[in-house]
Symmetry: C2
């Protein structure tokens, strides 16, 4: 597959670009490029001028902010197929967070100006962007709610449920997508809190933890424990369909 064809494949998987004209996709593909980043490489820092938006082609990216006293708040950890940086358009053209590769990874970088023009000139694109922002708002709402109402073991249980195929019945095996330190920071916990909470979750639900693999007889064990402290019902209705870039 040529680089341009690969870029077009990546762009067409992004929800925001469903229904976009081939012309616009073509423009983005012509000006976009696939870049590589090594583990720990910083892609940009909060308040940098936002020249590009990105889509993760492979690997994971960590979005974070740093406080004055040096603590790090992880905004999100995004897998393959997810876009980031695009809302800088509404943040005075500055990235509202920093971004770092959590492992060797590939990204598609597309000049922001293209997206800005399309949103300003194409009402359909503005509406698609509004829907995307609304989905993200829901995601944040849930995050705030859970940080208030769920205890640490329930939050881990919720995270696992959201990784699983929620329509699956019977025994389940879930693989943690990245290491436990990163997972702890994604969930807003200290590593020690995370370890204690995972032990408590095992005790409460009977799940089995084997390194990065979690096994259970059925998802029900987690649902009963974690979803009791959530305002949405199981299965979660805000999960995006799986997005894989081949």
């Amino acid at each position: 597959m040529s680089s341009t064809d690969q870029i077009i494949t990546v762009l067409k998987l992004e929800y925001l670009f469903k229904g976009c004209s081939d012309d616009f996709i073509g423009q983005m593909a012509a000006q976009g490029r696939i870049i590589s980043a090594n583990k720990g490489q910083v892609l940009f820092v909060s308040h940098d001028e936002a020249a590009y938006f990105y889509i993760v082609v492979s690997g994971w990216v960590k979005l974070f902010r740093e406080t004055l006293d040096g603590a790090q708040a992880v905004v999100d950890i995004l897998p393959t197929g997810h876009m980031f940086g695009e809302t800088s358009l509404f943040e005075n053209g500055e990235y509202p967070f920093s971004a770092e590769a959590t492992e060797s990874m590939k990204l598609l970088a597309v000049p922001m100006g293209l997206l800005q023009q399309e949103i300003e000139n194409n009402p359909k694109m503005a509406l698609a962007m509004l829907s995307a922002m609304a989905r993200y708002r829901k995601h944040q709402d849930r995050e705030i709610e859970h940080r208030t109402l769920q205890n640490a073991p329930q939050r881990i249980g919720c995270f696992l449920l959201r990784l699983a195929d929620q329509s699956h019945e019977g025994a389940v095996k879930i693989h943690l997508p990245y290491d436990k330190t990163l997972l702890a920071s994604r969930l807003g916990m200290q590593p020690e809190t995370f370890s204690r909470a995972l032990a408590k979750l095992k005790e409460k639900t009977g799940i089995k933890v084997n390194g990065a693999t979690i096994e259970m007889d059925s998802l029900d064990q987690l649902v009963k424990y974690s979803c009791a402290a959530c305002s949405s019902e199981f299965p979660c209705n805000d999960l995006p369909a799986c997005r894989k870039v081949e």
Copy 2:
């Protein structure tokens, strides 16, 4: 002032409607109505069909969700001039939370269909809505960050700073806008945690608490303590200009 004139005044204060045509403002005023609500009155429940969006004319409204095991997560508590319910447009036409009057209050209710049409037909309105969503996203980002990195006394200090005139130098008096139980739930704390945290904040910063009035020699006392655990610098750059409906 006639009811229509009052409605127009309320609408024109809303940031989203800056730059709207008089024609559209007139249509909203013609179809909008001012309603009263008593303390504790539920305006709508999460998942109700979203027929109206609202602007607070006087008093405070509490937005919340309830979990399966009966706990309440306060999404926000909004004062005069703030709009809510409008993002239901992007939530399958359902309210994503419940709303309750925290005291005797007045609200402007406007049919959602009007706003939907305007967003679909007027690109400027779609862009204005995008900016509004981006501002809200920033607000939520900060909320998630603070729930992770600030301890309870720092969160109270931050809340007080955001109530104050941040350009003020010298001695400051801040009035709590609603009772301490509500304030605790707004900050995602149990009432007992709130009381202990307020005592700790007094000890750490030397502020004086007198019922619903908080006094201090200068805002610096709170800034040093709370803003150290925040990724933004003081003064906060995301505070909306004060919006008062006369």
